[in-house]
């Protein structure tokens, strides 16, 4: 009797939990589509009626508030986002993966724990603080070191973004390396592999999906970051000719200008079109990653 009641309650609890987990899974999809729908809807009237897509993507002139002639060209902003992100990745991927390999394979005990704690601290610094460091500390240093006329530029933003992406790349990358079974390492060592051969020939190929995920999460962080790049890149509409030129990114433009726009006017809608472009970039990055990972898997199978 008692047993059957307990069993019934247990079954009830199980079905409730099942429903909860099911809903949680679907809610993620719902939220993503909901946000995408909202952003596209806000920008849609402008996209359909006013926007010249050719001008939008090929003109560097972003003058949404001009009294003479409004111009909505995001070419310079795209160039800004891409240049800062590319530089950040160039710096953070080797550094992040190197740190992940060191933490996972070369150290243990107190060193390992303290390194992980410090990296977590690095990840906990708010982006406004990073921006402030870029603005007040890095700016004079870059002027002094490079002779550039101003130190808030692609280099500054790239370094700041790299420092912000490194903790993510390290922690995800370290998990991926940790997931490689010890039998792989033992087998490699038994065959007489040096440490370098073990890492380069065994661990990196075995963990490449996880490492790729680490890098892409880092890219996502870099593209989506707003406050720090707003302060560190100089917020200047121009196509950079080198890493010492100030630029402006897509995210910073939205952050800086959305507050003054009135709902429904073309400037407001144009900013939402930029938001759509950002969503599409993020989607492209994710889909590419997915395809690359799948490509690696099918290669392994054949």
């Amino acid at each position: 009797m008692e047993n059957s009641v307990r069993r019934r309650v247990g079954l009830r609890a199980e079905s409730v939990m099942e429903l909860f987990v099911y809903l949680s899974g679907w809610s993620a999809i719902l939220f993503v589509f909901g946000i995408f729908f909202f952003i596209v809807r806000e920008g849609a009237p402008f996209l359909v009626h006013e926007l010249d897509l050719g001008e939008f993507f090929s003109s560097p002139n972003w003058r949404p508030d001009s009294e003479v002639r409004q111009q909505f060209g995001i070419y310079a902003l795209l160039a800004g986002t891409l240049s800062v992100t590319a530089l950040a990745m160039l710096l953070s991927v080797p550094l992040g993966l190197g740190a992940a390999i060191y933490i996972s394979e070369f150290c243990d005990g107190v060193t390992k724990e303290s390194l992980k704690i410090v990296l977590e601290l690095l990840a906990a610094i708010p982006s406004v603080v990073w921006g402030f460091i870029g603005y007040m500390v890095m700016n004079p240093i870059i002027i002094w070191a490079t002779g550039a006329p101003v130190g808030v530029n692609v280099l500054n933003g790239g370094i700041i973004l790299a420092l912000m992406s490194v903790p993510i790349i390290v922690s995800v990358g370290e998990d991926a390396l940790k997931a490689v079974p010890d039998s792989f390492r033992e087998a490699a060592v038994a065959l007489g592999a040096t440490r370098w051969q073990l890492i380069y020939r065994v661990l990196l190929p075995a963990a490449r999906n996880g490492l790729l995920a680490a890098v892409l999460l880092g890219v996502g962080r870099a593209i989506g970051e707003t406050m720090a790049v707003l302060m560190a890149t100089g917020h200047s509409v121009q196509i950079p000719s080198g890493i010492l030129d100030p630029v402006r990114t897509l995210t910073a433009t939205i952050a800086a200008e959305l507050g003054e726009t009135v709902e429904g006017e073309s400037h407001y809608q144009a900013l939402f079109v930029i938001g759509t472009v950002l969503m599409l970039i993020a989607m492209a990055v994710n889909i590419t990653a997915d395809l690359v990972v799948k490509g690696i898997r099918s290669e392994e199978r054949s």
């Binding site: 560097p60 002139n61 508030d65 603005y135 006329p149 726009t261």
Partner: protein, 305 residues
């Protein structure tokens, strides 16, 4: 700049100030008096970054005497305050530029009454360079050639401002984001009607940020309210024309109109204000309120006794 006797204020002066109407605005009320949210004793003030220090000082002082009133002050830029007024989420919009005709039209449609302008002070827009810059003065046409689209001035040597600290001699233009009233005012007053800014300037979000960046950048030039001057930057005397006498921005030269780039500091309300907002605005025009304008470093609109 402020003589000590100005700082002594008797309660009577405050009362006198309160009883006088401080109407500085044009435009009719557009129908019956609005039921303003001021009845709830919360006054929401948003807008011009130039005026945010002033608005905060006003609010603190006023709340000290009127504990029943709560005044919420936020910056963000003139455009942000005006957009908030149109959307009905702001009671008083601080602005360092006049509302555009499109904005006035939208306000009329959204609020059912016109936005009313109140001039509460004057500000001289100072031109800042790094303290090591040897330049002694600058003329408006020179500024226009530096900042304006198609302008040819890109090197400090062209206007005699080269210094060892700025090794590449390139002029770094520091400007404001386009939600700033200062940005809009500078465009009209310095570049002239119909001329746009040259792209590629470094656009800062606040008045203070412009001065901070100029102080750290030997090649830089920037513009910001004169109240934001610090010892690390040099505020250049400005001449209206090349060869004309260059005027140092001070409260006196701004008030007399000798300084060529000074502008009114404005507060916009939805219709003629009533209730708590009216009282607050009257107090701003009183000697107590105008004394704070001078203390912050701007020019009072009414002579402070």
């Amino acid at each position: 700049m402020i003589s000590p006797h100005r700082l002594h204020l008797t309660p009577i002066a405050v009362l006198v100030g309160l009883s006088t109407s401080g109407c500085g605005g044009a435009g009719d009320e557009g129908g019956h008096a609005p039921e303003s949210p001021a009845e709830s004793n919360i006054i929401r003030v948003t807008g011009s970054d130039t005026m945010v220090n002033l608005a905060q000082a006003w609010a603190e002082d006023y709340q000290g005497d009127h504990p029943e009133i709560s005044i919420q002050v936020a910056g963000g830029g003139s455009g942000v305050g005006i957009a908030g007024l149109i959307d009905g989420i702001v009671d008083m919009a601080n602005a360092s530029r006049k509302m555009k005709s499109t904005e006035l039209k939208r306000a009329e449609q959204a609020l059912g009454m016109s936005a009313v302008e109140h001039v509460v002070g004057l500000d001289a827009l100072a031109v800042y360079v790094h303290k090591d810059n040897p330049l002694e003065s600058i003329a408006i046409p020179e500024l226009a050639e530096i900042y304006g689209e198609g302008g040819e001035t890109t090197l400090w040597a062209q206007i005699g401002g080269s210094s060892a600290a700025c090794s590449r001699d390139e002029i770094v233009r520091i400007s404001r984001q386009n939600n700033s009233g200062t940005y809009v005012y500078f465009r009209r007053a310095v570049l002239g009607a119909g001329r746009e800014y040259k792209l590629g300037s470094i656009d800062q979000s606040g008045s203070k940020d412009v001065v901070a960046l100029v102080s750290k950048t030997p090649c830089a030039i920037g513009y910001s309210g004169m109240a934001y001057a610090t010892p690390e930057v040099k505020s250049l005397p400005v001449a209206a024309e090349k060869g004309a006498e260059a005027i140092t921005p001070t409260t006196e030269t701004a008030a007399s109109g000798d300084y060529p780039i000074s502008r009114p500091l404005l507060i916009y309300t939805a219709g003629e204000p009533t209730g708590a907002i009216r009282d607050y605005l009257d107090w701003i025009y009183s000697p107590a309120g105008q004394r704070i304008v001078a203390e912050i470093g701007y020019v009072p609109i009414k002579a402070v006794e």
